[in-house]
């Protein structure tokens, strides 16, 4: 299956695009993270966080097929 990936901040420059269609075999956080690092090795140096439906996701979070946001470290304020 495919899931839409949306990049933010510096990652947009690193990847060269705002969005990306990621092919995944399992709808799980770890699987998405591994697949993302494999297909986008340029983001590996970053401490990233993923979010779906406006919530940070982690290992146990139950996911759906909504877009996944990929965040570099935050720097608001």
């Amino acid at each position: 299956m495919k899931v839409e990936i949306r990049f933010f901040g510096q990652l947009i420059e690193i990847v060269g695009s705002n969005t990306f269609e990621l092919e995944i075999t399992k709808l799980e956080y770890d699987a998405i993270l591994t697949q993302l690092n494999n297909q986008m090795p340029s983001i590996k140096p970053f401490t990233i966080q993923l979010a779906q439906n406006n919530k940070i996701i982690q290992g146990e979070t139950e996911l759906d097929l909504s877009p996944i946001d990929v965040f570099p470290p935050f720097s608001g304020g």
Binding site: F8, G9, Q10, T47, Q49, A51, N54, K55, D69, F71, P72, P73, F74, S75, G76, G77
Partner: protein
Amino acid sequence: MKSIFKKGEISPKFIAQSIENHQSKIQIGAHQTFMGQIRQDISQGRKVVGMSYTAQEEMCNELAEQLREELITKYDLSCIHIYHSLGYIKVGALCFFVFLSGRHRSNTFHALEECVNKVKSNLPIFGKEIYDDESYGWKSNT
């Protein structure tokens, strides 16, 4: 849902208007504000001339709403307002404004610190420093 974002800088006039809007709330005895101002840092010999902000706006607005509700209850406040700039903000201008109010002052100090720190650590906002040689660099709160 209320948006915390403002295109460009947050003006002193906007802050005055926010204060004025609370002068009819006669149960309030204490206001506090935090304002973030773009500082002229030096990075590898280059002067910062401004910052450019982007964000996952929808998520920020949801998190800000939750944070407001949480802190109003925890610290028994009357209200909390949070504003953040998007786009280019020059050195000396304000990019971040937190405004909270309560009956008494005692609770407001810790509330302000917690609110400011949580916005900085939990909201997906991304700031890019623009230097005087037109190069730029990305900031990180961690």
